[in-house]
Symmetry: D2
C-alpha cells in the first residue's frame, strides 16, 4: 500500500535530520534568539534582496495564517479571500475565532483577481452606512492555490497595486511554495516575493521539513509587536532553533527548490502519461497535485494498492481524485500507479 494522499506523510528530508544530529551538543538561545535563526534571516534577506524583510518561524500553517491575519486587522476589519481559500474552508473558523470575518470572493480556479478586490473595497467605502459592514483590511491568497493552480507575476502585480491603493496588505500563503515556484507555468522568482507581497510564508511541513513554516514580513510596518501575538497565540516556540536548523537546511544549496522540482517533474510526467491515455483532469495540473477523473469502479480497484483522496463527485459513475506527489515519492511508484490506472 502506497499513499498519494499527501505530501506530509513522511518524516522529513534526510539532510534535515543529519543537520539536527550535528548540533546535539550545542546550546542555543530560546524563542528564536539563537544564532541559527539570525543567520537564516540574513540568508532569506539576501535571497529576497530586501534588507527590511524579517522572518518568523511557526509550527504549522493554520497557526501562521491566524497569527499573521490577527496581527494586521483592526477589530472591525475582515480579510478578503477566495471562497476556496484554506482559511475559509479548512481551518475550523480559526479567523472568525480571532474575531474577524472572511470577505469571500467566489472562485472557480482558486484565485482572486485585482478587479474583484477593487470592487469589494470600493463598494464598502462608498456605502453611506459603511460602519454597519465589515471593512476590508487585508487580502489573503494561496500560491499554489488549494486546487493546484498558480498565480502569474502580472496577476500579483495587479493585486498588490489594488491592495496598496486601499492601504491594505497582501498576504500569500505558501504552504506548498516550493512547487509553485518550480512549476512549468511559473514566471515568479523567489526574489519577486519581496515586492509582490507584504508578507508570505515558505511552507516547510508540506515541503520536506519535520514541521514548520517560515513567515517573511517584508515591511517593518507589519513587524512591530508581531512577536507578542505569536506568543499570545501559542506560536512562539521555545526551541525555535529546531525550526531554524530545518529551514537553514532547506535553503542550503537550493534544497527547497530541488524538492519542489522533484515533485513537479513527477507530477508533470504522471499527468502527461494519463492524458496520453485520454484520462481527463478536473483541474489543469500545474504543481504536485493532480486531479484525474476516473470511474468509481477504477477508483475502487486502485484502493487495493494505493491510498489517495477522493476530491469531488463528477457524475453518477465518475469522480475526481487527488494524487499528491511528495519529496519522497519515486518514479517507480508513480509508474506503478499509472499502470494500475491505464490497465483495462
Amino acid at each position: 500500500m502506497y499513499s498519494f494522499t499527501n505530501d506530509y506523510s513522511e518524516m522529513c528530508h534526510p539532510l534535515i535530520l543529519e543537520n539536527i544530529s550535528k548540533c546535539l551538543n550545542n546550546q542555543y538561545g530560546g524563542y528564536s534568539s539563537d544564532s541559527i535563526f539570525k543567520a537564516l534571516n540574513q540568508k532569506i534577506i539576501k535571497l529576497l534582496d530586501n534588507p527590511e524583510s524579517q522572518i518568523y518561524l511557526f509550527s504549522g500553517g493554520t497557526q501562521t495564517n491566524l497569527v499573521t491575519i490577527k496581527s494586521v486587522l483592526q477589530p472591525y476589519q475582515g480579510v478578503i479571500s477566495a471562497d476556496t481559500g484554506h482559511i475559509s474552508t479548512h481551518e475550523t473558523g480559526a479567523i472568525e475565532a480571532c474575531g474577524h470575518k472572511i470577505l469571500t470572493i467566489p472562485s472557480s480556479d482558486g484565485k482572486i483577481y485585482a478587479q474583484e478586490v477593487a470592487k469589494l473595497c470600493q463598494s464598502h467605502f462608498e456605502d453611506p452606512n459603511f460602519e454597519h459592514t465589515v471593512q476590508p483590511g487585508m487580502v489573503y491568497i494561496s500560491n499554489p492555490t488549494e486546487v493546484g493552480t498558480i498565480y502569474k507575476k502580472s496577476e500579483l502585480e495587479a493585486l498588490i497595486k489594488v491592495c496598496h491603493q486601499y492601504h491594505i496588505p497582501l498576504f500569500l500563503d505558501g504552504a506548498r511554495l516550493a512547487t509553485a515556484l518550480t512549476s512549468k507555468e511559473n514566471d515568479i522568482d523567489f526574489k519577486d516575493l519581496a515586492k509582490l507581497t507584504d508578507m508570505f510564508y515558505i511552507g516547510g511541513t508540506k515541503c520536506g521539513a519535520l514541521f514548520g513554516e517560515c513567515l517573511v514580513i517584508n515591511s517593518p510596518k507589519y513587524q512591530k509587536n508581531f512577536r507578542y501575538i505569536m506568543k499570545q497565540k501559542g506560536a512562539l516556540m521555545a526551541k525555535g532553533f529546531v525550526m531554524a536548523t530545518q529551514f537553514d537546511t532547506l535553503f542550503t544549496d537550493g534544497l527547497y527548490f530541488k524538492i519542489g522540482q522533484h515533485e513537479n517533474d513527477l507530477a508533470n510526467y504522471f499527468s502527461a502519461q494519463l492524458q496520453s491515455h485520454a484520462v481527463k483532469m478536473f483541474q489543469p495540473q500545474a504543481t504536485n497535485q493532480i486531479f484525474p477523473i476516473l470511474t468509481n469502479s477504477k477508483i475502487n480497484d486502485l484502493k487495493t494498492n494505493f491510498d489517495f483522496q477522493i476530491w469531488e463527485k463528477i457524475s453518477a459513475d465518475t469522480s475526481a481524485i487527488r494524487i499528491c506527489i511528495s519529496f519522497m515519492t519515486t518514479k517507480s511508484v508513480v509508474d506503478q500507479l499509472i499502470a494500475a490506472i491505464i490497465k483495462e
Copy 2:
C-alpha cells in the same frame, strides 16, 4: 560559556533523533491518525491504568494551555490559577485572548490550596448578583510550579475533591512533569494523575524532546469535540507522528523519568553543596530549578563563564538567580559552577 538559563537550550535527547531516523522511509496518516500515535495512546493508558484516558499532542505549552482551557470554559466562566501561574504571568494574555478571565489566588509558594478554591467558588455562587461576576469554571495548577515547588498527593486529593464538588475540572500543567515526579519530595505516581486530575500534560519541550507536549484528558466528557478546538487554534499538526515518535521514545524504558531523575540528582547535589557553603536559597529546592541568593558582584563575576537568569532583586546588594539543570547538563559543569560560586 555554559548556559544554565533553561532546560530547553539543546536540541533533544539522542535517542529521539535515532528513532526518527529509523522511520524516514515510512508513511504515516496525517493529523494523528497514525499508528505510532495509537500505540502511544495505549501505552499511556496502560501506565495510567485508565482506559478512558485519551492523549492529544501539541507543539508547545502555551498552546496546550489555551486550547485545553478554551475547550472547557463557557463564555462566562474563568479559570482559577495561582497569581504566579504561567497562564497568568507569561503567556501574553493568551487566556484572555480566548475570552476568559483568570481568577487569581495570591500565592507565595506557587501553589493553590483546596480551601482557597472552595472559598472563591462559594463566594461566587452565594453572591445575589452572581451574573455580574465571572463564574469559576476550571482550576489550573502547575507541577512543578513556576518557582520549582511541588504538590503533595494529599494536596491534589483535596483540590480535585473541591473541584468536583463545584462540577469543574482540575487541569495540571506538567511542562516539567519529569522533574516533579522524580523529586526527592514527591509522593505522587504517574498513575495517580488519572485520578488526581481531569487533564494534565506531559511536558516534552522542557524534558528532552525536540518539541511537543502530550496532553492527557482522563474523562470522555472533556474529550468530545476537543480536536475541533485544536484545529481552530492552529494546534492540530499535520505530521503528528513526529511528536508521537518522540513521546514513544520518552516512554520507552522509562526515559522520561530517567531524564527527570538526572536533572534532580544534579540539582540536589548543587543545592546541597551551596548550602554547605552557607549560600541561602530564595525558594527551597525540590526539582531542577535552584534559586540561590548571591551578591551582585558575585553574579557579575559568574556571568563571565556562565549564563543564567536573574530572578529577583532581594536587597540592594543581593539577588536571587535561577539555575536550571537540563537533560544534557553534566556533573562536571555543575562542579565548575559550584567552584565559581564558592570561590572567595
Copy 3:
C-alpha cells in the same frame, strides 16, 4: 420633507410615554428584577401558551442577535443564515467578533429552506475531516426578512424539524415581527412561535417603542446562565423596567399588532395604487417595506419632498427604492407620495 426611510424615525407610540409618566414616582428593582418585568413575562407566556418560555429585554437588535447566538454556540460552531441575513450583512461582523463563522446559504428571497439546512449539516457530519470545518450549531432566520418577505407556517415547521434532527436550535429575528404577523400573506399565529422556534425576538425599536427588543427563549435548555452573557456583552440594563413598561404597553389591548396592521394596511394600499399605475416592484410587497422600481429622474424629483433609501440599481436608468411605513405614517402623506410618483 417627509421621511419614508425607516420605521424608527420617530420617538415612540404616545401610549408608551403615557405609561412611563404614570410610574415616575415608583421604585423598581434593578436588572429586570422588577414587578413590571415579571408581569410582562407572564403575559407573554400566556399569549404563547407555553409556561416554559422566558423573556429577556435588550436595547437593540444587533445586541439581541449577538448575545443569543453567543449563548448557544460552542467555540467550534457556526450559525447558518441566508447570505442576505442581517447578521451576515449589516452588523459589522458582530457574530465573527464573538468568535463564530456565519455559514451562509445563498438566497434570492431572503429566506432559507429546510432542505438547504439539511444538506449543509449532512455535508459537515459526513466529511471525514469534519474537525477541519466549522460545525453547524444554530439556524438564524428573519421574519419578515431583510427584503420584506415572510415565512409560511409550513416552512417554519420544516425548518425546525431539520434543526431538531441535527440537535441545533432555530432562532427567529423579529425586528419587525408586528408586520410579519399582520401581513396579508401570513398564516402564523403569535402563539405558534413557541413551537416553531426555539427562540425569537419581538422587535420594539422598529415597531413603536422608544427602544428595546424582547427576546423569548422557549426552552429552559437555552435559558440557563443566559443572563451572564447578557451582562458580559453590556446588554443587561440597570433600568430594565423602562423596557418592561414599553412592552407591557405594546402587549396591552393588542397595540403591537395594531401597529403592524396599520403599517401593512398603508403599505398594501400604497403598493396596490402603484401597481394599478403599472409601477413594477423589486420584491413582491408583503409587509411595511415596499420596493418600487422608478426611473432615476423620478427618484430625483421625489427627493425634493420625500426622503427614502435607494435600494439597488436595476438598469442604467432605473433603481429600486425602499419605502418604509412607520407607526406614525398617515394615509394623507402616503397619498402625497403616490401622487408625486404617478405624476407625469
Copy 4:
C-alpha cells in the same frame, strides 16, 4: 418600604419625559445622524472648551466601557485598573471577553496613582521577555470610584502625565459623574475633563436619565473608526435621538449638576447626622453613597421599612451597609432613615 439600594430605581427626571413628549411628531435621522445629537455635541464641546471633543451615546455603562476599551487596545495590550474597578469586578469578564487582560493595581480607596501606573509600565518595558507579558495599553479609572471616593485634580494631572509618557490614553468612567463634580471635596471643573482625560463618560442611567451614557472622546486620534466598533458590539442605537434628547435635557440649565448637588446635599446631611450620633463609616463619604457600619440586629430592624445593600461584613456583630441617594430621594425619607438608625 423605601429603597436606598440604588440611584437607578426610578424612571427618570420629569423634565426628560416632558422633552421627549414634545418631540413625538418629529422625525429624526437614524444612528445619531439627527439634529438633537449634533446640537448636543456642540453644547458639550462648548462646555469643555475643546472643539476636538466628540460625543457617542450608549445604552449602559458596561457597554460603554467595553466598546471604548476595545477601540483603543491592540490585541496584545491590557488595560490598567484598580482591582476594585467596575470592569474588573462587576462586568462578568466583559473586557476579557473582548480579548484583553485587566492589569490590576491593588487599591484600598478605589483609586490608582500615577507612580503605580509608572511602575507597572516601566516593569513591562524593561523586561527582556516583554513579549511574554501583556503590554499596558490604557488606564481606566472611575470618578467617583466604586467606593464613593473622588479624585483630586492634581491626581488626575499626575496620572495623565504618566499615561502620555507611555503613549497610552486615560479613560474615566463617570457612571456617577454628577455626584463627583458636585462633591464637597471636588476641585475639578467639568471643563477640566477635556485636558485631564483622553476620554470619559457622563453617566445618565445613575443620574436621572431613563437610560444612557454619553462618552466624550477628546482627541481625534481615538475617534477614528470608533463607530464601527459601536455597531459591532451592538451599541449603535437606531434611535440615538432618544438618548440625545435626554442628555440635552440634562445639560440644559445645569440640570445634570443640580441632580448631583441634590444627591450630595442629602448624603452630606445624612452622613453628618449619623456621625453626630457616633455611627462609624466604612469609607469617608464624599458623594451620594454612604457606608455606615451598623450592628446586624439594627440592620435587620431597618429592613422592615427600608431596602439597601449590605456591603461588607466588618465583625461578628457588625456590617457596613450602602445607602445610595437618588435624584428622587427627599429629605423627608432620609430623616425617617436617620430616625430609624439612631433609635435605641
